[in-house]
Amino acid sequence: MAKKESTFNNMLITLLVVTLTASGSLGFVYQLTKDAIAQAEANKKNLAIKRVVPEFNNKPSEEFFKLPSETPGDTICFYVAKLDSDTVGYAVETYSKNAFGGLLKLLVGFLPDGTINNIAVLEHKETPGLGTKMTEEKFSSQFPGKNPAKFILKVRKDDGEVDAITASTITSRAYCDAVQRGYNSLKQHQNTEKGGEQ
């Protein structure tokens, strides 16, 4: 069959048809996947939250608030986990910028008294096989159950109580830094709240 000739009209029409169908179907697919995407995003958060705080039955991914961090300009996000309206824990989305690959984002689960429940790594650019060992048992199991009020969140080299990952002191340090930051914000938040109550 002969090809369509390249007159201006033909072209315009073709293009219009192509773009219209394309955009139409795109919009359609978007509508289809929209919820699934949102779901996946929320899922990600929830899964993480679930891992760091004790059992809850509210929807912490919707029940959150933001507070300014110690460093001006940055904010820290708090997710509150409640079991039947009792606050059972806070999942604090904290960070440190001093990691080997720059930014390290953690989700630290605190019990209401400030004890660390569990920690999940949200985002990092550490070296595979090295800094990434922070997700492994050996390192991460040091934190749950400790309360930063008593536990010095510093690596041993810096006179703290954390055993650093071998050859990844930088990552370990950043990790501690992030947890400490989360803890400080939590304390600040609790103080102001208390202050507000009084």
């Binding site: 955009s23 795109l26 978007y30 690959g101 930088i170």
Partner: protein, 189 residues
Amino acid sequence: MELILLIIGTVFVNNIVLSQFLGICPFIGVSGRVNTSVGMSAAVAFVMVLATIVTYIIQLLLDKLGIAFMQTVTYILVIAALVQMVEIILKKVSPALYSALGIFLPLITTNCAILGVAILVYQKEFTLLPAVVYAFSNALGFGLALITFSGIREQLELANIPNGVKGVPIAFIVAGILAMAFMGFANIV
């Protein structure tokens, strides 16, 4: 100050070619002539900044309409058209200039890098000025890698490279060692 650190970080630490793997094709394909590489880098700098501004504005529009998912389609169309438009305009505005470029430079086809940077700008949630600085630094990083590389290649032309690795493989291996050397800048900013 932050912008300067952004530049250093983008050029040296997260070099677009050596660590982010964008624009590899022109990097490998462009001739071993150092002169041409310099010209290419300048061209890329302009186009990249131009594209970044335009896509930034478009993204504002897309966001406003709530159709951010249309990003890919719109960006690529706009970028493809922009690159061509620059040439048309140049040709219309000054044919002589255009011809001189034609002899001097290969055509600019770094869509991969340009599109990549445009999307990264969006992902990193830059505001316009840092976005443009970022784009520019990426072009700078591209130029740095390209020019160093073309120098090495020019020299390798005179060396007796074993047959098996001649051509593309040796280019990758050199890039690999360069990338290794650039790892030294890790965490410098």
